[in-house]
């Protein structure tokens, strides 16, 4: 029954998440991609921070690491440097990745560490009772924004792209098959990959914002999400209130763990022949 059940820690089910929470859908995408790419489950590591998304490692039967708030990428960077052969997937929420972990997000992207990170963006701090996060849309209601949120949200793909990531994509849990492909491409990509996933939080966000159920929130995703290809044929007026999904950005750039290994082997060789060479961005300096 169900060939994917082997990837789950069955004794921990049913999950702690509310009915209709999108985190479980993203979890399904991850195990389908791992299964499709035939990655050895003992080589897969799921790293998370704190929050609803932080509970995911508890349910997945890979190597799992549930770390401190906002620091999932830091633990993952260390892990990747220590054991570059591991396939590391970092799962974060919007509060986790963008508020307390905002600094770590931009620096992991800047270093271009070969990680696949997923931000499950539900626009709210769900677990702690519905406080607004740096991803909450302007004007939306939250327990800490009873008259509407005053702050504009982060444009996550732009932020991560500007920081230096190799791969940036956005998807929704409604468009599940597309999400599978986006995560798969992120895992295949050398360098820092980020997939922002719009995910319903009917209890923390929806109830306060005229979307009482996960169904209403997923219908919203269905109506608003436009693929990059379709968006390129639409004008500004048509694109108003739309959310562009798909592979938004991709580039080839030096990957951190590989660069680190190269540096180590260079330094070791120089030591052996008694020379010191410091290569800087300004050119080479040779010392006897």
């Amino acid at each position: 029954m169900g060939r994917l059940l082997k990837y789950l820690r069955l004794d921990k089910f049913p999950t702690v998440w509310c009915a209709g929470c999108g985190v479980g859908i993203v979890m399904g995408c991850i195990i389908r991609v791992v299964d499709k790419l035939k990655v050895n489950p003992d080589k897969v590591v799921i790293v998370s921070g704190i929050g609803c998304s932080g509970r995911m490692p508890g349910y997945l039967d890979f190597n799992t690491l549930h770390t401190t708030h906002g620091r999932a990428l830091v633990f993952a960077t260390g892990l990747k440097l220590a054991k570059p052969s591991l396939e590391i997937i970092v799962v974060m929420g919007d509060g986790d990745a963008l508020a307390i972990g905002g600094n770590h997000l931009i620096h992991a992207a800047r270093r271009n560490v070969n990680l696949t990170s997923i931000i499950i963006n539900n626009w709210i701090y769900g677990m702690t009772g519905g406080q607004y996060s740096p991803a909450t849309p302007r004007g939306a209601f939250a327990t800490t924004a009873p008259y509407g949120n005053l702050e504009p949200p982060f444009e996550v793909p732009e932020l991560v792209r500007g920081s230096g990531a190799s791969y940036v994509a956005r998807g929704t849990v409604y468009h599940t098959r597309q999400l599978d492909r986006l995560i798969e491409r992120g895992m295949r990509k050398e360098g820092f990959g980020l997939v922002e996933v719009l995910s319903p939080c009917p209890v923390g966000f929806g109830r306060r914002n005229q979307m009482k159920s996960a169904i209403a929130m997923m219908r919203w995703q269905k109506d608003r999400a436009v693929s990059l290809k379709r968006a390129s044929k639409m004008n500004e007026e048509e694109l108003k209130d739309k959310i562009i999904t798909g592979v938004l950005f991709e580039r080839e750039a030096p990957e951190y763990t590989q660069e680190y290994e190269r540096l180590m082997s260079r330094v070791k060789t120089r030591k052996e022949i008694g020379k010191r060479e410091i290569q800087t961005g300004l050119g080479e300096i040779h010392e006897e």
Binding site: M1, G2, L4, L5, K6, L8, L10, D11, F13, P14, T15, W17, C18, A19, G20, C21, G22, V23, G24, I25, M27, G28, C29, R32, D61, V173, Y174, T176, R177, D180, S213, A214, I215, M218, R219
Partner: protein, 76 residues
């Protein structure tokens, strides 16, 4: 993992043609019911998933991949 195989065997999945349901995991969110292209599924009186018309099922698998709780499996 041997332990896991016994756990899977012990689960009582209800099977209707290609559709298998594991009721203890269903939270009744209704995502599968709403987005089924053929209206195969409904929510029962207890708020949990019920197969209404198994013959209309095209085995597209959308219910399985959108179920946040892994309570549906479509067997090919």
């Amino acid at each position: 993992m041997k332990n896991k195989e016994t756990l899977i065997e012990k689960m009582h999945w209800l099977t209707f043609g290609p559709i298998s349901i594991y009721e203890p995991w269903c939270k009744g969110c209704g995502i599968c019911v709403e987005f089924c292209p053929k209206d195969v599924l409904i929510l029962g009186e207890d708020g949990k998933l019920v197969v209404r018309d198994v013959h209309s099922c095209t085995e597209c698998g959308l219910c399985e991949i959108r179920c946040p709780d892994f309570a549906i499996v479509i067997e090919e």
